[in-house]
Symmetry: C2
Subunit: 211 residues, 2 copies
């Protein structure tokens, strides 16, 4: 499964100019970070001129806003079909996909740039509004999987889906931050999260049936 955090463009088919520019933006942001990113840096990653980029996107802010929209579409496209034979499997696969910790340079560089972008959010309404969309998508997906697991009897019915989803979104966010700030492996958190789900979300009788 492709992880948008590693490369949102891996299975990209439609290579029109606008998309080509967004792909160049991805490469440029991995290399230069967000604060120092210029349209020239982006042009350097394509065969297109700076003038062509200007024709499609009239400013760095406008381009970056389109870039976040594009990432959002890829993110939801990649996470929506994640499934499991049961809600419990679904929950594990979903979290593994979101936390997938490939130790490749572009993955870490991109995560780092995104953390920079998050630090811009208080000063940029457009960025904040777009980051809220990612945050809400994650929350709603997790809440729905937990709700489905309670309905099917696989999850403990004393679990409050909104509270558990809130907790998991926060932990996922923290895992990405710690990966950048203290180079803490998300694999370690994934183990802690599996434990949390097995002992606190999955109904006890289910855990015993199928350890």
């Amino acid at each position: 499964m492709t992880n948008w955090l590693v490369s949102p463009f891996t299975d990209l088919m439609d290579n029109d100019t606008a998309t080509e520019i967004l792909e160049a933006t991805y490469k440029a942001i991995c290399q230069h970070g967000y604060a120092d990113l210029s349209l020239s840096d982006i042009a350097d990653e394509t065969d297109r001129s700076k003038a062509t980029i200007h024709y499609y996107y009239d400013s760095k802010e406008n381009l970056f806003s389109e870039f976040l929209d594009f990432l959002y579409d890829r993110y939801t496209e990649q996470l929506t079909p994640v499934e499991g034979s049961t809600p419990r499997e679904h929950l594990f696969t979903f979290l593994e996909t979101v936390l997938s910790d490939e130790h490749t340079a572009p993955g870490q560089e991109f995560r780092t740039a995104m953390l920079e972008v998050k630090a811009q959010a208080p000063y940029d309404d457009t960025i904040r509004t777009q980051l809220v969309k990612f945050d809400e998508f994650l929350f709603e997906q997790l809440r729905d999987i937990i709700t489905a697991g309670i309905a099917s009897g696989e999850f403990d019915d004393t679990v409050e889906p909104t509270v558990a989803a809130e907790f998991l979104v926060t932990a996922v966010t923290g895992a990405h931050t710690r990966r950048v700030a203290v180079d803490h492996s998300t694999d370690r958190l994934l183990r802690a999260m599996r434990w949390y789900i097995e002992t606190h979300i999955v109904d006890e009788r289910q855990s015993e049936d199928d350890p």
Copy 2:
């Protein structure tokens, strides 16, 4: 209880020049962020000249490294005496202190600057090493409180202190990131965390005794 994230200098008594410069650094970073911070910005927040600052700290990097050391000392000084009549109360008070969500401008500005600093960590060994110290301190404190609670019988003895502490550190980190990136109240997470602790860490019989 003073929260270092809001103002680490609130109860500062020893106003020697070096400390005065560190205090000015705090004000300057709140105002300008980390990336754009200059020694002139810091000088503007004190009666000292840029030359005096240079005398004490020969570069922005050196000053900032001292600043992180200073924050670390304040952080540990403020969190170490946090106590409760029982490990459970201790755990709640500790997390409340760490997550305290005062809606003051300097608090949010400082958190934002610190997120910027975290995004610098992959490119700066000194910063990363110092951030690791904060991360490890938090982990060790939480692990020790949980261990004490299991020993006293107040916490469930099937809880693995290192795994639960790992999970809580990640959630605390995520709460700070979400506060900046999506303006998500940490109060909401604090409720989710209370629920997590009451239902998953505190021994069931204790929760029933004292709901």
